[in-house]
């Protein structure tokens, strides 16, 4: 039986290959994701291990709540003295390691868009982890070193000028040294070193450290020293051995990367889900074609189990081969993904590709599992072939349609799916379990539609085919009839495409809603004309930039804003700041309690809260709430006003003064500065003047007018959208492969018919057109279904977001373009099948039985 299986697979090799392709894409993405994230994780592990070389004990401040930019609080430099006095400390030194900007000669960034850049201080040689591969360690003012990779990226050499920007004005430094971290890759990240006092001044951390590194005397173990040191230090400082510190940092990174892993795996799951439809279809059709063969095997004494095993063995082998190919493609894909990330400015550090056994095992399990599960129903169907089928002339139509069963199953699934979605919509969107429920609900609904869709194919294909019949006459008519001939086959093929397009249209509608909502917030809430923002890639900028802008002629007011995450009731809550003296000039909000005046009147121990916080805390104006900073300090604030929903993140859930967010919450940098231009002043001229004023001291900021602000927001949304499109394209390509296979199989079935058509005068062109039309009908069916479902899902998900100022908008032209592109994709998918059909040898075709 085994050799028969191989012979069967070989005899239908192109079909087997196409089936395998349906899984290969998904597996490649699974393997690629693991390889990419494992490679990155390992590179980071290396970075952290190497950067703790020579450090026996590391002292850092605890962070009570993670910040979006990953920053940790600094702590007082006075603790260094205490540490030094501990018995067994050979050497201890404080250091600063803080996000900043490193600019080249042209004052362009030395890193990619989203790659962090750090300003750090030099350490005594024993504790210093960076190797100076060229030049010397910066020894005084005006001297800096840079990591060699960044220097090479920006074509900088010793003696060149680099500009560093911390929390103050940009300062020029002479490059005196180039560093490496023992050959470890930083990805797109750059690190500059200066002496400690300069680093502290640049980063606004005078009298503070980010870390104290300690070397132990010989004979004292890091653990012993750690315990001794922690006795003399307060609880808000974390004392770890160098190894512990490296592990914790690596774990943090791993956690951060897990989002990327999950997101990419979700796309892999989509591609695999779509692939399973294709596999199901191919196996269904193949089993139908082999009815007579199975009947023959039964007459020869094969048991049902043996038939089942042959078919499942075939799918096992296809799954196995697909997994092997998928893993290999995945290795390439990992590099491709990393190139995409690098292209959008988030270059990840990487050494050699890391392929863990887990990657291989999971890929095989999924590849073989999906293939076998998808072929299970056709395989079971094959066992139902009676021996008499060996003698029957006609090939079974395949796919028995049990309407009632289908109806019941799909109704149950639809109800379960909609219930899951409803639970999420009513219960709120926060949390990973909501996304999971939403996803599961969507899968249920999609499967329900797929199961029921054979019943819809007939009328739907008639409708979609109508224009083609008008244009193509008989050819269009035949194409339409062909697509209706085996409704379940067309339905499954179209459903595969439907899934991909449902997601495409969902994200399209959602993104369009997002950008129009952002536009609306900018128009309604932003009274100022200009905005000061970080230029691409730099996280935040010195608050002095906003001050400087406020002094420019023609500026009525310039008001800075900062964002952070604080703890409220043990939950991370977004907090933002305003500058009370100027804020009323630049923004306006709707208020549940209070008014715009409340912003102007805001004191340092007061807070404005969002409706969400008001509800969850049961607090209103006059109440007091306790907020905890990242360092873990708690403080009571008096609520003065409740802001109405709909600001779409323009403010945090908590709003405090600039002073408070700086002093108490430790946020030193502005995220944006809003500018009100004086009455009568020309906005463009003022914008130019601000730009001129800021260019020198604050090279990392841009001045945007309202339109430019909208455009830049739009651009960010589009970048994200483009990445999602690329990943969804995998699923769409898989479903197009499904169209190709199904068409080829259908053509194979209709060989004699095609021969007859040729014999009675149909030209090759007409045959090709007929096949093409059929593909277009299937593609458009899938596209329309997908678009409708996607739009409905976006609509549903938009309901609970409405409160946050999110309003959906339906980008009809874009959706129409997607529909047209899908039809074109159908035409492309039909190229090979159409060629095959038109090249049929008439003689063979008509004598074919």
């Amino acid at each position: 039986m085994l050799s028969l299986t191989f012979k069967n697979l070989w005899a239908r090799k192109w079909r087997s290959i196409m089936t395998a392709i349906a899984v290969v894409f998904g597996i490649a993405l699974v393997a690629g994701t693991y390889v990419l994230t494992d490679t990155t994780t390992q590179a980071f592990d290396e970075i952290f291990v190497k950067s703790n070389e020579g450090t026996d004990v590391a002292i850092t401040a605890r962070s009570e709540v993670d910040q979006e930019d990953g920053s940790t609080p600094s702590f007082s430099a006075s603790y260094l003295k205490r540490v030094k006095r501990v018995d067994g400390v050979e050497l201890a030194a404080g250091t600063v390691f803080s996000p900043g900007a490193i600019l080249d000669r042209e004052r362009d960034s030395t890193g990619g868009g989203f790659s962090p850049q750090f300003i750090s201080s030099t350490l005594p040689e024993r504790l210093e982890s960076l190797d100076y591969v060229e030049g010397t360690v910066p020894a005084g003012p005006g001297q800096a070193s840079l990591d060699k990779a960044a220097a090479e990226r920006s074509d900088l050499g010793l003696g060149d000028v680099v500009t560093l920007v911390g929390t103050g004005k940009a300062e020029p430094f002479k490059l005196v040294g180039l560093t490496e971290l023992g050959g470890a890759s930083f990805g797109g990240t750059s690190i500059a070193q200066v002496t400690l006092p300069i680093a502290q001044r640049l980063t606004g951390k005078q009298g503070e450290f980010d870390q104290i590194s300690v070397a132990a005397e010989s004979g004292v173990s890091p653990e012993q020293l750690r315990d001794r040191i922690s006795e003399v230090l307060p609880d808000d400082l974390r004392v770890e051995t160098g190894t512990e510190n490296a592990e914790r940092n690596a774990d943090d990174i791993r956690e951060g990367l897990s989002f990327l892993t999950i997101a990419l795996l979700a796309f892999a799951a989509i591609a695999l889900f779509v692939g399973s439809f294709v596999i199901f279809n191919v196996f269904s059709i193949t089993v139908a074609h082999r009815t007579r063969e199975f009947g023959m095997l039964r007459t020869l004494g094969s048991s049902r189990n043996q038939i089942l095993r042959t078919v499942l063995l075939e799918s096992f082998i296809i799954g196995l081969v697909a997994s092997v190919v998928g893993i290999l493609v995945g290795l390439g894909l990992a590099q491709g993904l990393s190139a995409i990330l690098a292209a959008v400015g988030a270059e990840l550090p990487a050494n050699a590709l890391v392929v863990l056994p887990r990657t291989i095992i999971v890929s095989f399990l999924i590849g073989i599992g999906i293939t076998m599960i998808a072929s299970l129903i056709p395989a079971i169907r094959s066992t139902r072939v009676p021996p008499i089928a060996a003698l029957s002339e006609t090939v079974a139509a395949g796919g028995t349609s049990r309407v009632l069963l289908r109806g019941i199953v799909s109704a149950v699934l639809a109800v379960v799916g909609l219930a899951l979605i409803a639970v999420v919509l009513i219960g709120g969107l926060s949390g990973g379990s909501a996304a999971l429920k939403m996803g599961a609900g969507a899968v249920c609904v999609l499967v329900a539609i797929s199961i029921f869709s054979p019943q819809l194919v007939r009328p739907a294909a008639s409708a979609v085919g109508a224009p083609l019949e008008r244009v193509g006459g008989l050819i269009g008519r035949l194409a339409r009839e062909n697509s209706q001939r085996n409704p379940s086959r067309t339905a499954v093929t179209a459903a595969a495409l439907m899934i991909g397009l449902a997601l495409v249209s969902f994200v399209t509608v959602f993104a369009s809603g997002l950008s129009s909502s952002v536009d609306k917030v900018i128009e309604q809430n932003f009274v100022g004309e200009l905005v000061i923002q970080n230029s691409g890639g730099f996280l935040d900028f010195p608050p002095k930039a906003v001050e400087a802008a406020g002094e420019v002629e023609g500026v009525e007011a310039a008001s800075g804003q900062r964002y952070a995450t604080a703890l409220l009731d043990g939950k991370g809550t977004s907090i933002s700041s305003i500058e009370p003296s100027t804020v009323a000039e630049v923004v306006t909000f709707d208020w549940n309690e209070g008014s715009d005046q409340s912003m102007t009147a805001l004191q340092d121990d007061q807070v404005i809260i969002s409706e969400g916080v008001a509800d969850s805390q049961g607090a209103g104006a006059g109440d007091r709430i306790s907020i905890t900073s990242q360092k873990g300090e708690s403080k009571e604030f008096e609520v003065t006003a409740v802001i109405a929903p709909g600001t779409l993140g323009l403010t945090g859930d908590l709003v405090v003064t600039q002073d408070t967010i700086g002093r108490f919450f430790g946020v030193d940098l502005d995220s944006s500065g809003l500018v009100k231009v004086a009455d009568g002043a020309d906005v463009d001229q003022v914008q130019q003047k601000i730009e001129d004023a800021l260019k020198g001291p604050f090279p990392t900021v841009d001045v945007l007018n309202q339109q430019e602000l909208k455009d830049s927001q739009q651009e960010q949304i589009n970048t994200l959208l483009a990445m999602i499109y690329v990943l969804l394209a995998l699923a769409v390509v898989v479903s197009l492969v499904g169209i190709v296979v199904t068409l080829i199989l259908s053509i194979y079935e209709r060989t004699r018919e095609l021969g007859m058509l040729r014999a009675v005068g149909m030209s090759r062109r007409q045959i090709r057109r007929m096949v093409r039309y059929e593909a277009v009908i299937t593609a458009v069916l899938g596209a329309i279904a997908g678009l409708v479902i996607g739009v409905i899902f976006a609509f549903l998900l938009g309901i609970p977001l409405e409160g946050d100022g999110f309003t959906l908008s339906y980008p009809v032209p874009v959706l129409v373009v997607i529909l047209i592109l899908t039809a074109v994709a159908g035409v492309i998918a039909a190229i090979y099948p159409a060629r095959k059909a038109s090249r049929l040898d008439i003689l063979e075709a008509i004598s074919y039985e």
Partner: protein, 254 residues
Amino acid sequence: MESTLEERRQSETPRSEIVVARGLERTFGTGEAQVRALEGVDVAFERSRYTSIMGPSGSGKSTLMHILAGLDRPTAGTVEIDGVEITGLDDGELTELRRDKLGFVFQFFNLLPVLTAEENILLPLSIARRKPDREWVDLLIDRVGLDDRRTHRPSELSGGQQQRVAVARALVTKPAVLFADEPTGNLDSKSSDDVLRLLRAAVDEFDQTVVMVTHEPDAAAHGDRLIALRDGHLVHDAPPVSADAVIELLKTLA
């Protein structure tokens, strides 16, 4: 090759022979497995005649008909249909030829299951995007006895009815020649008789030319002329006398 079918037709002098084959040879495969299906066949078919081609299995009768109908190309020799040399035509020209000048009836009825009986009959015209001559179509449908079956799909028709649809389809374009390949091979005797009488009527009433490959003596007896092949050679060419005489002839060939 640049000249159109029309020009070429005019360049030839009209004659009563509508299909002329000269020196036809056809070999399949190479080396040991080589089969010589036709070894030099000269034959011509006159207008408005009903010719049966017979011969034992492997005699080359089907190959001959396939080549005459432009479905297969000879290894050597030429075929002229209605004054047009077809052996050198490309696929597009052959398609046009089949569309305009040839009609086919196959053993397996070869109807499109998705079209009704009438639509199947009109298929060649629809493919050519030509308007049907209603009178002719109605006459034809009436003559093949399917007036009450026009809107039925093939699956709702008996084998005999399906083959009558196929005959009507072959005649709807008033072709120069109608080729029939074992048209009764899949039918019971009653239905066979209906189909054969239709083909006879096509010649007698509609002035058509019919070339039919068959291995059934009864069928061959309906024709005006009986050609027999054996091992790739033409071995008999005369009007058929009776079915019994045909049986005798076949015995001598076997």
